[in-house]
């Protein structure tokens, strides 16, 4: 009997450990603990998942990603997309290209220095105020003084907008500092701010008033709990444009997304390939397979570590990592080896004729010439990252390079990237869709934005020719010439190996199409739940 009691106690202890645990993926472990214990406050407030109009309420797995305004959202996709749903821009990303949004139409003069936009005349802010040209003028002025998180309006250290002039009740001209192939998307992507709210705000980063998330988008925020990581957006029925397709969008913390999806607590998941068979055989589910515009990469601090200044050593590391094996083991085969020239193979800008760095241990050893090297490898604490680090360590040890793994919480790792506190660093980063101008900010020493990765974070890399091409490709007017330059850049980058591109996961999104099938993939970002057009009635 006593032994039986002890069995019960032991089982109890283990179950408690199991109950308190979570997958370590995007948020910190302690955050997840809080989330799992206090989950579903939002769900409890809305048991009825359909409105009187028959519009569903969409629930998604989420965590705290900051106040969703242009100054306070977190840099990665989940934070950025929540802000973009609330705030409109002049253009929006469509299926193949940018589509008109707050700007009905636009034209660029021959010099490429003046952009004329025609604003919609029926847009209103969530608080009922009309959205006018004054708001747009104010926005471009305000961003000059107050840098938003996603700052695409600074290129080569210069704010690109010289002036914004009102040319009619609903029209305006934006004068820019130079001709640049990417300026339309930069201007078009800037989120317009309500002047009546922000004109009196001197420090937007400290601003936390109730109207800090008032935008003009198809949804307005009605609930936000930073501690729980819960958000609720409700349809804004006075919206001027494409009508909201769902009654509300809710982000709730879940401990296991697959279980939550099975229990219909959330409506969309991105699944591992081992689960594909489970959903593909059932007609009530739709699976969308999409290439991811993210890639795992091994960053090398060429500033702090002398050995990494040698291109031969960097090449040796690149040849010494079996990337195919990483995909087989960690991505379970559902990924693609990333190009060492950075541009993904699904892009029309991809240059296939560059060094591929196929796994070659003998070549790697030859390049190392018997050098005994040892590095610290900093990684996040998500299981996939730790396993990836472990496999890389095994590969590198086989070529005589000693690796010590240090695993930290992912936000600490992201900070280390910016501050350069690492020797080798493993990170999965996105922003690889659309125009290849990202090469300029990452490799071309053009400090352009505050995204997770830019030239400032690629420690110690400088190639004069890459920098020259990075600037030239942005201003050349001939499409063919630009393509040639982008191809050449990829070749040079691959030869330099400033960081080792590992692999890009495939995305396999699953949803119940009878409940909601408006999910939409845009040309520059594959995450269905991050796309604003996923939540509006498209014509």
């Amino acid at each position: 009997m006593k032994k039986f009691k002890m069995v019960l106690i032991a089982v109890g202890i283990l179950l408690m450990a199991v109950g308190c645990s979570n997958k370590a993926q995007e948020v910190t472990q302690t955050d997840q603990l809080v989330a799992s214990e206090e989950a579903s406050t939002v769900q409890e407030t809305d048991q009825d998942k359909e409105s009187a109009e028959g519009r569903p309420v969409i629930r998604l797995a989420g965590s705290d990603t900051g106040i969703p305004n242009p100054f306070r959202h977190h840099t990665r996709g989940p934070g950025m997309s929540k802000m973009q749903i609330l705030y409109d821009s002049l253009l929006e990303s469509g299926a193949d290209d940018y589509v008109p949004w707050l700007a009905k139409s636009w034209r660029i003069d021959e010099s490429g220095l003046t952009y004329s936009f025609d604003l919609v005349n029926n847009a209103v802010w969530h608080d009922g105020e009309p959205l006018t040209v004054e708001d747009v003028i104010f926005t471009f002025d305000y961003y000059r003084e107050h840098t938003p998180v996603l700052n695409n309006l600074i290129v080569n250290g210069t704010y690109i907008v010289e002036s914004v002039e009102k040319t009619g009740d609903w029209t305006f001209d934006v004068k820019v500092n130079t001709h640049d192939n990417t300026y339309l998307s930069r201007l078009g992507g800037a989120r317009i701010l309500p002047k009546h709210i922000w004109q009196s705000v001197e420090d937007p980063i400290a601003y936390e008033a109730e109207d800090a998330a008032v935008g003009s988008g198809p949804y307005k925020m009605t609930y936000y709990d930073a501690v729980k990581g819960e958000y609720r957006y409700e349809a804004f029925d006075e919206y001027w444009g494409l009508k909201p397709a769902v009654e509300a969008i809710e982000w709730v913390p879940v401990s296991d997304s697959v279980l939550a999806f099975e229990n219909e607590e959330i409506d969309l998941i991105n699944i591992a390939p081992d689960l594909l068979a489970r959903y593909s055989s059932d007609a009530k589910y739709t699976i969308q397979n999409l290439p991811s515009y993210h890639s795992y990469r091994l960053m090398m601090n060429m500033d702090a570590v002398d050995a990494l200044k040698s291109v031969e050593v960097r090449k040796a590391l690149a040849y010494g990592i079996n990337r195919k094996s990483l995909i087989d083991k960690i991505a379970r085969g559902a990924a693609e080896i990333s190009s060492m020239g950075y541009v993904p193979s699904t892009s029309s800008w991809y240059n296939p004729n560059i060094e591929a760095y196929d796994y070659d241990m003998a070549k790697s050893k030859r390049l190392l010439e018997g050098k005994k090297l040892s590095f610290k490898l900093l990684t996040g604490n998500a299981p996939a990252e730790v396993k990836l680090a472990e496999l890389i360590r095994i590969d590198l040890e086989a070529i005589g390079v000693e690796v010590t793994i240090e695993s930290v919480e992912s936000k600490t790792r992201d900070q280390a990237v910016k501050k350069g506190n690492y020797e080798l660093l493993l990170i999965n980063s996105g922003g690889m869709g659309g125009d290849p101008d990202y090469l300029r900010s990452i490799y071309g020493n053009a400090s352009s934005n505050t995204a997770a990765l830019n030239a400032a974070t690629l420690k110690g890399y400088y190639n004069e020719e890459v920098s020259r091409l990075a600037t030239a490709q942005a201003t050349v007017k001939s499409g063919a010439e630009r393509k040639e330059m982008i191809f050449e850049m990829q070749k040079l980058i691959a030869e330099d190996v400033p960081m080792i591109m590992l692999y890009s996961n495939d995305d396999n999104f699953v949803y119940r199409q009878e409940y909601y099938d408006g999910w939409f993939a845009r040309f520059d970002h594959s995450k269905l739940d991050h796309n604003k057009l996923s939540y509006v009635v498209r014509e």
């Binding site: 283990l14 370590a24 591992a272 081992d274």
Partner: protein
């Protein structure tokens, strides 16, 4: 031999045999990812193709050694504090017991998580943190026993004859405390193993270790593992092994208590 003793012995023998013969199969990546149990891999493999039985052999020793070392540190520290506090009394007693009260009053698991995050996830820091959180109970028990012995007549005579402290410690205190300390050692060891497993399971242990808690962490973090057949060998193996170990230690300590 009783089955739980056999099990404990088995874990130790397997670990020693595996380690002495230079076993590193637990960190060898093979192409047989997530293979079901077979003659080649008797408990199957994980997603990296690493043999689960080899990981268990290695991890068992890891857990027992970690539990044992932290229990040893806790017993040594607790005894030193308890004897000093009980024997010398006065201000020293009040200060030491106040420290004990503070540590006892704090939520252990949260402290463990904080220490773990602050000191890093290395093996030594885990041992240190577990020991630092476990010595207070021993100190209190030892103190009570020492005060009791100190007030015995034979101790008064012993003091009158000018017996040195070391002699009193070894001749009078140690024999009286030995059984109590042995029992506490096993209990703390068991508790440390559970706490290490919990920490590892929460992702706060050494991420590259193959402790049983970390094995569980990795298995359960596999997306949708319960909707695949892999849990049958990847989750169950470390879970059953860990439950068996904790149960065996609990029965051992219970038996120890009854006999003594």
């Amino acid at each position: 031999m009783k089955i739980y003793r056999l099990y404990l012995l088995l874990i130790i023998v397997l670990f020693l045999t595996y380690t002495i013969f230079g076993g590193n199969v637990h960190r060898v990546v093979t192409n047989d990812s997530l293979a079901a149990p077979s003659l080649e891999h008797i408990l199957g493999t994980d997603d990296l193709g690493m043999d689960i039985f080899a990981q268990l052999c290695h991890g068992g020793g890891y857990s027992i050694l970690l539990g044992g070392l932290s229990a040893l540190f806790a017993v040594v520290l607790g005894t030193m504090v308890g004897v000093s506090s009980g024997y010398f009394g006065g201000a020293l007693d009040r200060v030491l017991m106040a420290i004990c009260d503070i540590i006892t009053g704090m939520p252990q698991m949260i402290l463990l998580i904080l220490f773990g995050a602050f000191l890093g996830a290395s093996y030594f820091s885990m041992v240190l943190v577990l020991a630092l959180l476990s010595w207070t109970q021993i100190a209190r028990m030892v103190r009570s026993r020492v005060i009791f012995i100190k007030n015995q007549n034979y101790m008064t005579y012993s003091n009158l004859f000018g017996t040195s402290f070391m002699t009193i410690l070894l001749k009078h205190f140690y024999p009286a405390l030995r059984e109590l300390l042995s029992l506490s050692f096993i209990k703390i060891m068991s508790r440390s193993i559970v706490m290490e497993a919990s920490l590892a399971y929460l992702g706060l242990g050494d991420p590259t270790s193959k402790s049983w808690g970390m094995m569980l962490n990795r298995a359960m973090a596999f997306p949708g593992i319960y909707f695949t057949p892999f849990w049958k060998w990847w989750v169950l193996s470390p879970l059953v092994a860990l439950m068996g170990l904790i149960l065996s230690l609990m029965i051992l300590s219970k038996e120890f208590e009854v006999v003594k």
